[in-house]
Symmetry: C2
Subunit: 300 residues, 2 copies
Amino acid sequence: MNDQNAADFPTYLNEVADRVTVALDRLIPPAEGPEAQLMRAMRYASLATGKRLRPFFVIAFGELFGAPEKSLLRTAAALECIHTYSLIHDDLPCMDDDDLRRGQPTVHKRFDEATAVLAGDALLTLAFEILSHPDTHQDGSVRCKLIEKLSRASGAQGMVGGQMIDMLAGDVRQDLNSITRMQRLKTGALIAYAGEAACILGGASDQQRSAVTGFTHDLGLAYQIADDLLDVEGNEAELGKGVGKDADAGKANFVTLLGKDGARQRVEMLAEQAKEHLAIFRNRAHLLLQSVDFVLQRRH
Amino acid sequence: MNDQNAADFPTYLNEVADRVTVALDRLIPPAEGPEAQLMRAMRYASLATGKRLRPFFVIAFGELFGAPEKSLLRTAAALECIHTYSLIHDDLPCMDDDDLRRGQPTVHKRFDEATAVLAGDALLTLAFEILSHPDTHQDGSVRCKLIEKLSRASGAQGMVGGQMIDMLAGDVRQDLNSITRMQRLKTGALIAYAGEAACILGGASDQQRSAVTGFTHDLGLAYQIADDLLDVEGNEAELGKGVGKDADAGKANFVTLLGKDGARQRVEMLAEQAKEHLAIFRNRAHLLLQSVDFVLQRRH
């Protein structure tokens, strides 16, 4: 980690978050007509303050490879639509039944359940509309590649598959392998997509691509373990969302399987490993290096 | 209508339905691993007997324009994924709260609500994965055009927007214009997409395209009015789904606004108009001509 640049990262992350919010504001249809409540709900969920971590990885890696800014921003916005839809549906009473998200009432609390289902569906659909448009990239086969990868990362064999396993987790015995696979699907796949999309748009070499994949894989897992630590140690006021859910639901997680110390060590190990993958980019990757500590620090 | 071919249509429709079911069976991931319940629910909803009307229009118009069979079948399957996801979510307790669909328990009744939400999300996502794959068409910009049109037809400014209006309909005054717009979004947009996709894949001329658009517009509306008539006249045993919902929910529909006779006349008028659009295709469109009476007959 480069101490000279230690102050850069939060500034850069906020700047990226602001750009993504502006892009989403433009891309989500205006709240007009008798269906206006749908767009209001989409906006309420999408424009709320978030870290925009997945967009950050799209843009930071994409800039490293010299990918066009507009392509990166639209792809980052599409990815954030998918992430936001998954939070809306995950928070529903029949799923995790959460009342708070990003420091505000969840969509089904602020509006109602039907609106939450539909706003999620509409954001999911919007993600693919954004990517399919020629503004995202002049080459249709590049746009299709972005769509194919995003649909795989977020569908039955990616994020949604992981959510299904998580919903059923109370009923089956879980070991470290099964928890790791579940998290790789549920949260890892979208983080990995952020890197993949940047590689596609920036024409990354095979060597660069495998460095990016290694980084997002390790960081994604570290992020989840840190999240489980937070589930034990955190408190509601600090996070703006409910905590201690896994224990209540009788679900195993990294902390119940590894213990607190074991989980902390695993996070450290993965964080170091993630940084090592970036070595080939030298100090051009300093913001990405800083992101590792920043992302994990606030979570353990 | 060509009497010589009167027997052809049901056979052709069944044949198309079978081909689409086989395609969906191949395209939906196998039910494996701890997430198997997700795939089982996707299959349960998608492979159930249905008319496959939207796929029929993709394939019948596509064949008229000489579009490649494989492209048509994959596009038809993607469209059916969108239609099926919308039924699963629409049937949820927080939406229309239906227990029966296609003659069997709805997904949330057969499985549970969380599985229904996720199976819908996964089918929605799968539709775009199918279209983005090079097997759908060798030209990426054609695939992207299919994706862009489908996302618009099914998103906040299409089907999902129409569903939002329908959910809120109990609370606002509705006239014929607002009901017509709602239905154009909720059910018309996907039927229109079937025709649009065929035009894209078959390289239809502007004149052909506008005939197709006119046809799907009129037929889509006729279909909905016929459905409203069924809501009043039908019975549960015959249809395998609950009826009389609109009246119970205090919602206006075409029958409450036009009366039974007025609604029947409107259906007839739209059916004739739909057929007139097909005149430019002469008797090459005989199956499409027959589809009009077939589709509307069983519904009024």
